[in-house]
Amino acid sequence: DVKVTQSSRYLVKRTGEKVFLECVQDMDHENMFWYRQDPGLGLRLIYFSYDVKMKEKGDIPEGYSVSREKKERFSLILESASTNQTSMYLCASSLTGSIEQFFGPGTRLTVL
């Protein structure tokens, strides 16, 4: 079974802090994704990566950056957290050639 893990289920940070959200998958998937989920807005793609050190902006990249130094790990970075980044963050991965995505359990981030 594909397993996607995220470093924290719940996280509380203060405005202006630098925040790292980590995602690890164990099935050698090439593609990895970061989404945020907000009520009434569904899932919105922040960034995705289709290979090590490769990244592409999604629909809402502002205020975020990402890092993919190893194939299994995809990090989302909030350079200076703001209250409007309070959200549920979901990581996913997929195999090249397959459209099905496998999701982690999510990190609920609160920025005070």
Binding site: G58, M88, P105
Partner: protein, 111 residues
């Protein structure tokens, strides 16, 4: 921009009844998927239907796709309390497997 819009936003039914939720999208697609999300958890893939398919079944799930109307429906037959979850459609237009998710239908199945 949101590609998929689910309808209804929320649905409450009795156990044993069928649940139908719909997804409409705006542009041509390669594939359409349905995912389930239990409260506060990640999404789980349920079923994929390709643009050249019209209907697909998986267990108690039946998905239809009408590309002329740019819409899909997900039918869950003989619902169970464990089906209580949010259901999302997701569309793609090819490329780097980038998919666009809808806003979801929240289904409650009352025992």
């Amino acid at each position: 921009s949101q590609q998929g819009e689910e309808d209804p936003q929320a649905l409450s039914i009795q156990e044993g009844e069928n649940a139908t939720m719909n997804c409409s999208y705006k542009t041509s697609i390669n594939n359409l998927q349905w995912y389930r999300q239990n409260s506060g958890r990640g999404l789980v893939h349920l079923i994929l239907i390709r643009s050249n398919e019209r209907e697909k079944h998986s267990g108690r799930l039946r998905v239809t796709l009408d590309t002329s109307k740019k819409s899909s429906s997900l039918l869950i037959t003989a619902s169970r309390a464990a089906d209580t979850a949010s259901y999302f459609c997701a569309t793609d237009r090819g490329g780097y497997q980038k998919v666009t998710f809808g806003t979801g239908t929240k289904l409650q199945v009352i025992p």
